[in-house]
Amino acid sequence: MLQKIIPLLLLLAHLSACHPLDESRIPYDWQLPDDVPAPKTPDNNPMTAAKVALGRHIFYDTNLSANQQQACSSCHIQANAFAEPKTTSEGSTGEKHRRNASALINVAYNQTLTWAHDSITDIETLILLPLFGESPIEMGITGNEDQVLARFQTERYQAQFAEAFPGEPIDFAAIAKALACFVRSLTSFDSPFDRYVFAGDDSALSASAIRGMDLFFSEKLECDHCHGNFNFSESSTHENLTLNEKPFHNIGLYNLNNNGAYPASDNGLYDITLNPNDRGRFRAPTLRNIALTAPYMHDGSINTLEAVIDLYAAGGRTITEGENQGDGRKNPLKNAFIAGFDITDQEKQDLIAFLNALTDTTFITNPTFGAPDQSATSGQ
């Protein structure tokens, strides 16, 4: 018997020596709470630790913008849950964007991406917009492709690309895939709410936050109809869910000329579909870390959570002067759930206490999500 086992062991040892541990094939460890399912991931870009690590370096590298003035992290700031405190963003050349920078929280679970687009469903595609978009210019790569790519030919980046994408060239496809993997890795499930729900810790929420949570999930306020499920956004999905809904809503933020219109600069989903019924329809974003992501709405036009609650309590926003004046409450395209509600000052405080309990301080301090030492890839 021993005579047979020894050659077998030798053969196994030989095979093992021929196939050293392949870093590019090590699956990514999501480190999720036990009850939280993993997100769906595209077949053509499976998550690996090597791609996430590379994507993190690129995310924080200003070399990705043509004029080397901006990185992805310039508008997606970890301390703000990867949103930014500006009303709307500015590109690398200073050009104004029409929208507020979306927070990058559990984006891996989103069925659709951006504030209002029903066809962009994978991060790899989404990333091409800020990289190559010309209206407005964000990273400004269009026309500067070779110049930008050349910056990633450093010795360190070459090693990282080889580890993440063995045998593949350093190109924008690989950059987009690596960035997508890093953005997918930005998961947040360690708020007091998560400890209350997933860890069963009754002491994780204050009495006020629990009252606010009960209000949030009540049929009186209806918050959870659009900001429901585990990710506080009905457009979220996961690996065990076959539901394929792509909801967008008009919440009565504007009502120009009382015909349902939003400012011409941004009519939401209508700008993609040209369906008149889609005017003013936007995706409900996650409310996780919402206390960190002000200002609110697609155009950053509301500064505080108190003002957001006031809007929903009124059943829409009324603007009495200026070019955007109109009674949003009467917007004919407004979602049926934005019907308004009565709320006391105490209830509002409770609701805000609950929203504050969605803040995940681990997420905004986690060093693996933070800026790496760029000298590690600079080749210097």
């Binding site: 629990i210 009960d214 585990f230 009905e234």
Partner: protein, 291 residues
């Protein structure tokens, strides 16, 4: 052939005889297909079907419901039937609960399915069925669990409130040019420490609907008719201000309209404790062939 082999060969007829006897003891199982269809005044409803009443023209947005506990009546006896797993409608992996789900997209896709064949096994032959009963809802022991760890279709967020109240049993949403109608039915009055803690005891208002359909003639189609609900809406006098006028009934028994509709569906909203009653008037049977 050695002794051992001979023993095996000689044992086979005996085994076959035992199997035959066991088989004879098990009642034969027949496969049924219960066809459910959404209708308005005898017309099948699709997402693009204009639903005209005396005062409005409605269009369908959603019609979704869970059902379980199907039983078939024959020879003065009710017998349990077992759901057969299918993708449409979705059936839980333990073959207990089915979800009928119509969600109309913005484009009002005429192809969206509004007729469902619920397949099941029963010891009663299809042509011997004289009554059928089932419950609209989710049984209590499955209603208040973490939806993230439940199997489909109980993991759908669009049909779940919270741990405390559990699933929406029935979701009906219609729209017209001025005022939408939203009706969500599920258990209410469920006691727990918070919305995110499960009810541990039966809810004050279970709001499950016991449906019994008598005088079945095979084959039949089970119709969910919107007529009486829309008749209630026609008679509705608005109580909200004109800015936010809606016909929302979210299992709250306060509004007169909601009481009427709950009652129409088989839930007596005028009682302090809800109870279920037959839905025979609302789910009517027509003699027609199965599609």
């Amino acid at each position: 052939m050695n002794t051992h082999q001979r023993t095996i060969v000689y044992s086979i007829p005996g085994l076959l005889l035992v199997l035959a006897l066991l088989s004879a003891c098990s009642p034969r199982q027949y496969e049924h297909s219960l066809t459910f269809q959404l209708q308005y005044n005898d017309q099948e409803i699709h997402c693009d079907t204009p639903i005209k009443t005396n005062s409005a023209q409605w269009s369908l947005q959603r019609w979704q419901l869970y059902l379980y506990g199907v039983e078939i009546h024959h020879n003065q006896q009710w017998r349990s039937a077992q759901l057969i797993p299918t993708q449409t409608p979705q059936v839980t992996s333990d073959d207990r609960i089915a979800l009928l789900s119509v969600i109309c997209k913005q484009s009002a896709d005429p192809q969206t399915q509004t007729t469902f064949n619920v397949r099941l096994l029963s010891s009663v032959a299809p042509d011997a069925v004289d009554a059928i009963r089932f419950t609209v809802g989710v049984p209590f022991d499955r209603n208040h669990q973490n939806p993230l760890t439940q199997t489909a279709p109980l993991n759908r967020p669009d049909m779940f409130w919270v741990w405390q109240t559990g699933h929406k049993f029935l979701r009906l949403e219609l729209t017209n040019q001025s005022t939408p109608f939203i009706f969500h039915l599920g258990s209410t009055g469920c006691a727990s420490a918070s919305a995110l803690r499960p009810a541990v005891e039966k809810c004050k208002n279970p709001n499950r609907i016991a449906v019994q359909l008598d005088n079945i003639k095979h084959p039949s189609i089970l119709v969910f008719d919107l007529a009486t609900i829309l008749e209630k809406l026609d008679n509705k006098t608005t109580t909200r201000d004109e800015t936010n006028d809606t016909h929302n009934c979210l299992a709250t028994p306060d509004a007169p309209l909601c009481q009427d509709i709950l009652s129409t569906l088989g839930v007596n909203a005028s009682q302090t404790a809800f109870y279920a009653r037959p839905l025979t008037r609302r789910v009517t049977l027509n003699q027609s062939t199965q599609p």
